[in-house]
């Protein structure tokens, strides 16, 4: 089945301080597209330009040159601006700085309120959004009393309530502890598999990336690598030179190979690792 492109970047450049003689590029000649329903990871070290991608994807920033389209509409088209923002939601790193209201459900309602929806519709969307991030119980809680993971889930609910086709997550777990990280990742995966929302997840946690449909590696404003997780993680040297690393399972596999064990390439999940190891044992 041919799925259509939801977001596409074509030869996108983005420069800070455009007026300067030698503009500093956050993105250079970046071309990629995201299909509807896809789970795309964007990896890169801090300052590699990955956060700029998030802001370009929903028209918050406009490319210096090149074209970004969302569902066929150019983000430079002012008439399409609202529509683009409705279709592509963004969740940022620090949940504290994206929550507007003091009460959970009032914050989730913020987006739908901006869309000028009728009250009943807002109610329905808020309830649904809170259910989908499993925060219904806390709907009357004060936002600042929540844990980091809970706050981030409220922020996600706030975006879901706008019923976007795609959500871009800009390092959503960077400030969370393992428990919060697990809960947020679980929520994100759920959104993709159960609700069919297209997800672009920007991160530098390699463990998370093993579950991607496709991975894009950014290095110094340019795309360094693109492909399925297995392909990307077999480029060990290149990843390292991009300031990244392998998921732990792959690291262990590699260490085994180095000590002379004929361990197979491209093992990413712990389950695969166990299978491969057990097979090797049988062979010995």
């Amino acid at each position: 089945m041919e799925q259509k492109d939801l977001i596409s970047f074509q030869n996108v450049y983005y420069a800070y301080e455009e007026e300067a003689e030698e503009p500093a590029y956050a993105l250079k000649n970046v071309t990629f597209s995201v299909k509807e329903g896809e789970f795309l990871f964007i990896l890169g070290h801090n300052g590699s330009g990955k956060s700029t991608v998030a802001k370009l994807a929903n028209g918050l920033l406009l490319p210096t040159s090149g074209v970004v389209t969302v569902d066929g509409a150019d983000t430079k088209d002012e008439n399409a601006q609202m529509d683009v923002r409705k279709k592509v939601g963004v969740v940022f790193q620090n949940p504290d700085n994206q929550i507007v209201a003091s009460i959970v459900e009032e914050d989730v309602a913020f987006g739908p309120e901006n869309l000028c929806l009728p009250r009943e519709e807002i109610r329905a969307r808020v309830d649904e959004a809170l259910r989908s991030v499993d925060m219904t119980e806390k709907r009357h809680a004060e936002t600042y009393r929540l844990s980091g993971g809970q706050k981030q889930r409220v922020a996600i609910a706030g975006v879901i309530a706008m019923r976007p086709k795609c959500i871009v997550f800009d390092e959503p777990t960077a400030m969370l502890d393992p428990k919060g990280r697990r809960a947020v990742l679980h929520t994100i995966r759920d959104l993709n598999t159960r609700f069919g929302i297209t997800v672009i997840l920007i991160t530098h946690f390699m463990e998370e990336a093993a579950q991607a449909d496709r991975i894009l590696v950014l290095n110094d404003a340019e795309i360094a690598l693109e492909g399925r997780p297995r392909e990307v993680f077999s480029e060990y040297e290149l990843l390292l030179s991009c300031g990244l690393e392998l998921p732990d399972t792959a690291k262990l596999g590699k260490a085994l190979q180095e000590s002379g064990v004929p361990f197979p390439d491209g093992i990413l999940s712990p389950d695969e690792f166990l299978e491969a190891y057990m097979r090797l044992r049988k062979d010995h």
Partner: protein
């Protein structure tokens, strides 16, 4: 005599409000000179409160904190002095940078200690060398540094006080893999070269496994587990229940064991690889 000894300390917030929290409940432990201890627990487990009680910032509601055998809360003077003896570096310390240049920021602590200008200068240079901050950055505004450099500059500000024990709260939070690696190897060097005592507060088992001699696990304000990394990671189920993780290498070894493969435990990459390849070589004999 241990360098730092904590005896039955407790502390709570918001007494008489509906939001009362007993953040730290009756905690005791000791740290020897030269040790590297990691305190692990999820957010809200009381780690941060505990930390502030160790350096004279927060007086425990009950119990004592002994530094070289002396109660640091004896009087105002000893508590103030303890702030320099026990160097405390908060989470995201780069958000506390404020001076015009990095050198001035690093000098803030030593200046408050009332040291001579020459001594301060010496300490600033030494501290920035320890954290690996390039010398040409010393006269630059800290706000113009990269994220990783800001973090190192802030840590240098604490190291420059030359504390007897260095406490770091989540020193690698928010950094990318390369930045994380830099900070951890920096701490390792600092310990090796100077025989320094370090206490790391973290929720990352990987970090703890990589550098700690001993791990203390906190949950709900209590100290629930304490021991060598090996002992701690063998309690994987208890850790998971507390919302914590075990290092992924330890998890793989445990999973293999539960499939009937006899393997000694390991929790670092190097050990796990060795154990696994030994397991294959010896496999034929089973």
């Amino acid at each position: 005599m241990p360098l730092l000894e904590v005896q039955n300390i407790s502390f709570g917030y918001g007494h008489h409000t509906p939001f009362e929290v007993q953040a730290v409940k009756d905690i005791s432990f000791a740290i020897e000179k030269g040790e590297c201890v990691a305190v692990i627990g999820h957010t809200g487990s009381g780690k941060s409160t505990l930390m502030q009680m160790l350096n004279g910032l927060l007086k425990p509601e009950s119990g004592q904190v002994l530094l070289n055998g002396e109660n640091i809360y004896q009087n105002k003077k000893t508590a103030a002095k303890a702030r320099f003896q026990v160097g405390l570096c908060f989470q995201y310390p780069e958000y506390q940078l404020f001076a015009e240049t990095c050198a001035e920021d690093i000098a803030f602590g030593p200046k408050n200690m009332g040291l001579s200008p020459e001594e301060i200068r010496k300490r600033v240079l030494l501290a920035s060398e320890i954290v690996g901050l390039p010398a040409d950055k010393l006269d630059v505004s800290p706000f113009d540094l990269s994220g990783g450099q800001k973090r190192r500059c802030a840590i240098a500000g604490v190291i420059a006080m030359q504390p007897e024990i260095l406490i770091l709260d989540e020193p690698t939070a928010g950094l990318d893999p390369a930045g994380r690696e830099e900070i951890l190897s920096m701490i390792g060097r600092y310990r090796k070269d100077r025989g320094a005592t370090v206490l790391i507060v973290t929720h990352s088992m990987e970090t703890a496994a990589a550098i700690a001699d001993r791990i203390l696990v906190m949950n709900g304000g209590r100290l629930v587990l304490s021991g060598s990394p090996e002992e701690i990671f063998s309690e994987s189920e208890a850790l998971l229940e507390m919302g914590l993780d075990i290092p992924s290498f330890a998890r793989i070894i445990l999973a293999l064991r539960s499939r009937g493969v006899e393997l000694p435990s390991a929790y670092t990459l190097k050990d796990a690889a060795r154990v696994l390849s030994d397991g294959l070589r010896g496999g034929g004999r089973l």
